[in-house]
Subunit: 350 residues, 2 copies
Amino acid sequence: MPRTFHDELIVIDALEFSNWDRETLEELRAGGVTAVHVTVAVWENCRETLSNISAWHRRFEEHADIVMQARSADDIRRAKSLGRTAIVFGFQNSSPIEDDIGLVEVFHDLGVRIMQLTYNNQSLIGGSCYEETDSGISRFGREVIAEMNRVGMVVDVSHCGERTGFEAVEISQRPIAITHANPKSFHPGLRNKSDDLIRAVCEGGGMLGFSVYPLHIGGAATPLARFCEMIARTAEMVGAEHLGLGTDQSRKWDDSFLDWIRSGRWKKGVDFGEGSATNRGWPEWPRWFRTPADFPNITKGLLDIGFGREEVAGIMGGNWLRFFDAGFAPATAERKAAGAATVQDHAAAE
Amino acid sequence: MPRTFHDELIVIDALEFSNWDRETLEELRAGGVTAVHVTVAVWENCRETLSNISAWHRRFEEHADIVMQARSADDIRRAKSLGRTAIVFGFQNSSPIEDDIGLVEVFHDLGVRIMQLTYNNQSLIGGSCYEETDSGISRFGREVIAEMNRVGMVVDVSHCGERTGFEAVEISQRPIAITHANPKSFHPGLRNKSDDLIRAVCEGGGMLGFSVYPLHIGGAATPLARFCEMIARTAEMVGAEHLGLGTDQSRKWDDSFLDWIRSGRWKKGVDFGEGSATNRGWPEWPRWFRTPADFPNITKGLLDIGFGREEVAGIMGGNWLRFFDAGFAPATAERKAAGAATVQDHAAAE
């Protein structure tokens, strides 16, 4: 089979949250996916998160022929040359660090490179897009962001409220990311972001990863062309170099797991999350992205909508790779000193 | 000041357990100590151990001019060339991995390179030298040793019972260590080891680190020459290349901490450990080794007793360095396969 344009690309999915097994890992290979940011915590505390990480260690051991851990952008390049998929650990919540700033470096040491400041509920760090009132970044949150900046852990505001998102851009000394969400102007979902926040994140050197999650795009019937038009419109707004994918793909979970990621142990009743009482199960995915094996469809869709090859290479993964090159590296001593000063300045100003 | 023979050496202390601060870290530099195996858990569970590790992260940040973490023997060589002291993390108990074999690799990832199978009490893995009956290595213990062999974490039997020690030598596919104890034939302390066990460990390619802890050498009055004679006698028995130091130095703890390391939370009453009701505080250290700054005295003592310079270089650290070169590296795939087979063979034979 001749190698296609897609085969040559570094393809990065900045968020998947699947019930990983041989089959789902092989779907990544089938889709030519070079790297995936996987979720190792959503409500879990520190100890529970270590068990999730050790489940990945076992997968790395058992499926060493097709996957490997990535702690740096260079590891992602290495995976490409080895024909494997690189796995980058990330949190969708700050629950794993509990109330302990020291755990930021502990988890960084274990390879965690991206942390959302909140999941769907207010955290010790900030406010969520599901809360009626978004507190913005807390006292602890300012310290945690400075520490994340120091060690090289990317601040992700995908599930944060708008105020928390804007404050994270301002407080962070390094560019931040929305790994998986779409513009609210495309689809008015609670989880999607205002054009103003997307602009602020990207103007600060950050990135937006477009989600294919059906409830973020207006349902499974949304055609690929419309999804790609959204990307084109956003590129006009912030520049294509700040855009990537974060599909939010979730393979092979049953509905009880959906209850867990929505209700955790914070609620005795049922939470419907982005669903509703009449639509509470896993949604159907669009025909053009049923699994990560369908990534070549998106490459084709972007070319069809008129993006140039270089732009497509960037959106499919090159832009995330460049962002990870900087974002996963520890801050220099000077940067760190600057970060510390800023946190103190904030304190002094209040 | 002209550089002395001691200054040129790679000096390794295979066990210290101090209340580390700037002063105690500077004592290491003053003693020309290149690397120390420090204790990050004695009774602590997984989560608590992470806090101990993060306290070290903070020390690495605050005292970066004099200390650094070592994950490999090469890191120790690097520390020597940078004029810093390398810190190797280790456990004096298996409590941090709880009942979860997956935590072996998690902690290895965090830099833990040595684990005692038991502290003073029977653990989930084996029997202690303080127990009336030593169970030997448990079912879980066999699995954990195989996993330690795979990832590159040294098996340490310093506080284990004799039977557990012999079984560890037999079960481990890689050489093991007694990081800090002396021959019982020198001083009949509960924690000291039989010549037979020392021989078994060393014949298997392992190492013995001599302890200066007063209750292991017959008290603070024991002269340096007698300590060095013990080393010479042991060298005749197993060869000097299997010998090093593991002083068990404990600086700046108060007596309440001694209660913690003896009684943990397993006993409501007072445990006297190696002390007694009339002698329950921290013991006085010998005049020739009050702090790690006194390491040059031991170099001199070994030369005085008649060891050659190469032998002294080995005992002061070169032998540990060579042992760590092999022991801290992950097993090859073949070795791992062999290890797995042996565990199964054991099961089949019983």
